[in-house]
């Protein structure tokens, strides 16, 4: 009897809750940290970016309209699903980042915990970012944070999984929808995360994942008139400047890349970056 042939996985994009190949039909080779071939990943084009934005916009109404409690539950569910596939992600992160099994496991555990941490914020962020304002008149004056809309995120290049989760979770927990460009050289953990998201009660289109050349996909996203904010975590200084210039055209909110330690306590910076404050005045009735 001959040896069994292993079944290789076809990695695909994640757009609108579906798993399409790149519209361009292109793929590129993904290698581990030592240069050994791991898999082919789709090389997304600007048209995939366009489709992803359309899907994200379509999902925004329902997701931003869901209750904070419901969004939190969905994020907990993602953590639960990840827990069940922990071994797969440990292996993928170890390959992608050249880490030992133990270190990769620590990264994956931290990423799962991060989902839980952000899930808890869903119904608490309004108290931090909003509240009653004292005004000189017989009015209740209340500020409440609202999700900003469609956010394009360039995931960190080095931290292929913990970094990725750390930029997606804060965007979606507040009700925005997201188009993520995965780490260019280590996209496989991101593409596998899509399979978890698809089975976690997360409505299709809330998270859309693209893999490919960051600069190529980011340019049309930064210039896109229907994208409301841009997270440049995965852009180098030159690219970040270029994208920020393009993003200025429709006044996108931009989070600049910073020296990030993804394993540290994330704080509320990214949560607050993608919120708009709505203030209402209401007569007191006296």
């Amino acid at each position: 009897m001959s040896d069994r042939l292993s079944v290789l996985k076809t990695y695909k994009l994640y757009v609108g809750g579906k798993f399409p190949r790149s519209e361009s039909g292109r793929v590129y080779e993904v290698t581990d940290s030592k240069g050994n071939w791991l898999a082919n990943a789709p090389l997304a084009s600007r048209k995939d970016a366009r489709d992803a934005v359309v899907a994200a916009r379509k999902a925004f109404g329902g997701w931003s309209g869901a209750t904070a409690y419901n969004r939190g539950q969905v994020l907990y569910r993602i953590a639960e699903m990840l827990e069940g596939r922990r071994d797969q992600f440990v292996a993928e992160v170890a390959d992608a980042e050249g880490l030992s099994k133990a270190k990769a496991a620590a990264q994956v555990d931290a990423a799962i915990d991060r989902w839980v941490w952000y899930a808890g914020w869903s119904d608490k962020i309004a108290q931090i970012a909003g509240g009653a304002n004292p005004v000189a008149g017989p009015y209740f004056n209340l500020s409440s944070p609202e999700p900003t809309g469609v956010v394009a995120v360039l995931a960190p290049q080095e931290s292929s999984f913990l970094g990725l989760v750390s930029v997606i979770a804060p965007v979606i927990v507040c009700g925005s929808t997201v188009v993520v460009v995965a780490s260019q050289n280590a996209p496989l953990p991101a593409l596998s995360l899509a399979e978890v998201l698809a089975t976690s009660d997360l409505p299709g289109g809330v998270v859309n994942l693209l893999s490919g050349r960051t600069a190529e996909i980011a340019a049309p996203l930064a210039a896109h008139q229907d994208v409301n904010a841009l997270d440049l975590a995965g852009a180098d200084a030159g690219l970040a400047k270029e994208l920020e210039t393009a993003a200025a055209d429709n006044l996108k909110r931009v989070v600049r890349p910073g020296a990030a330690d993804w394993s540290a306590d994330p704080g509320t910076e990214r949560l607050l970056a993608f919120l708009e404050t709505k203030t209402v005045w209401h007569p007191m009735g006296v």
């Binding site: 366009r50 934005v53 916009r57 049309p220 210039a223 896109h224 008139q225 229907d226 994208v227 055209d249």
Partner: protein
């Protein structure tokens, strides 16, 4: 081949009279319609699919987008239509893109008969036609006198074009002559007191006709009865305009033109929402009927949401940036 004459002209009536033998009685009409060659369904679908693969880019795309905008019958056919909504739609039809006055205006505004006067007033001097559905749209289930009164009302209110629905029940049960007579009578009801006439579009509701053979037969039936335009659907049923059905109707128009010299227009309606779809239809028109039909006089899109997508694509071509729904009007 006979010299081309428009379906709404005086000469067309004479040409149709020469075909009177096939419409003389029910039996003759049935023999004629059932004598039309059967449709090769697989070939038709393959042909429509092939024509949908053409790549139309850059300057050709810009031309196609402007042409498609100028061919739109911008439509609102809701029970909830108000005069205000109709006026807003008319304003949009005149200047589809308020940020870019070079965008062409649409061909017509399509409304229910009671909104014709409102639309006519809002469009005065713009050159945009007012089209009105009539004859108990969308079901067509009413007595003939009611349908004729419906049509006369719309024409009297100022409609330039009448979109009638055929009696699908009669057609499917084989009473071809009654469908034929009905179209003829509605055409007569389109005549204004001064002798001019509103153009008549005949809606087949192809989603209810079951077979491609029926679509070919009904196309011939309507053209023999004097339709100025043949239109696929009402937009009110599950299956609306599809590329194969539209291609089949274009071919029927081509064959009818070859036989009689009468030029008839085509209007796919319902379900055409993207620029990509619209361009596929334009390719089909060009390949089947050629340039004489590539004008708003002979080809129309019945659509509402299509216009916004065309405008977004137009903005993308102009600026190089993808546009979004925030930059076109909500309607």
């Amino acid at each position: 081949m006979p010299i081309t004459v428009p379906a709404y002209g005086k000469e067309a009536a004479g040409r149709l009279a020469s075909m009177a033998d096939v419409t003389a009685d029910d039996g003759a009409l049935r023999r004629f319609l059932h004598g039309l060659p059967g449709v090769d369904a697989v070939g038709l679908q393959a042909r429509a699919a092939t024509l949908g693969t053409r790549s139309i880019k850059t300057t050709a795309k810009a031309y196609a987008i402007d042409l498609a905008i100028s061919m739109i019958d911008l439509t609102t056919l809701e029970g909830a239509d108000t005069p205000g909504k109709v006026r807003a739609l008319c304003a949009k039809g005149v200047h589809p893109d308020p940020t870019d006055r070079t965008a062409p205006k649409v061909a017509a505004i399509c409304v229910y008969p009671d909104m014709v006067a409102t639309a006519k007033e809002a469009l005065a001097g713009s050159g945009i036609h007012v089209a009105s559905v009539a004859t108990a749209f969308p079901a067509g289930r009413a007595a003939l006198p009611v349908k004729l009164a419906d049509t006369r009302d719309a024409v009297a209110a100022g409609a330039d074009e009448i979109d009638m629905v055929i009696d699908r029940g009669a057609f499917l049960s084989g009473r071809y002559l009654s469908v034929f007579e009905e179209i003829k009578q509605v055409k007569e009801a389109c005549v204004r007191p001064d002798g001019s006439a509103a153009h008549l579009k005949v809606i087949f509701e192809t989603g209810e006709l079951e077979t491609y053979d029926n679509v070919r037969r009904v196309s011939w039936l309507a053209m023999l009865a004097g339709a100025d335009f043949i239109k696929t659907s009402t937009g009110k049923v599950a299956v609306n305009a599809t590329p194969p059905v539209t291609l089949l109707m274009l071919e029927a128009v081509r064959d009818f033109h070859t036989a009689t010299g009468i030029q008839v227009g085509v209007k796919p309606a319902g379900g055409i929402r993207t620029t990509k779809d619209a361009i596929k239809y334009l390719v089909m028109v060009n390949e089947t009927l050629g340039e004489p039909w590539l004008t708003a006089d002979w080809f129309r899109f019945g659509a509402s949401s299509l216009l916004n997508d065309l405008l977004m694509q137009r903005q993308k071509l102009g600026t190089g940036r993808y546009s979004g729904p925030d930059y076109v009007t909500v309607d």
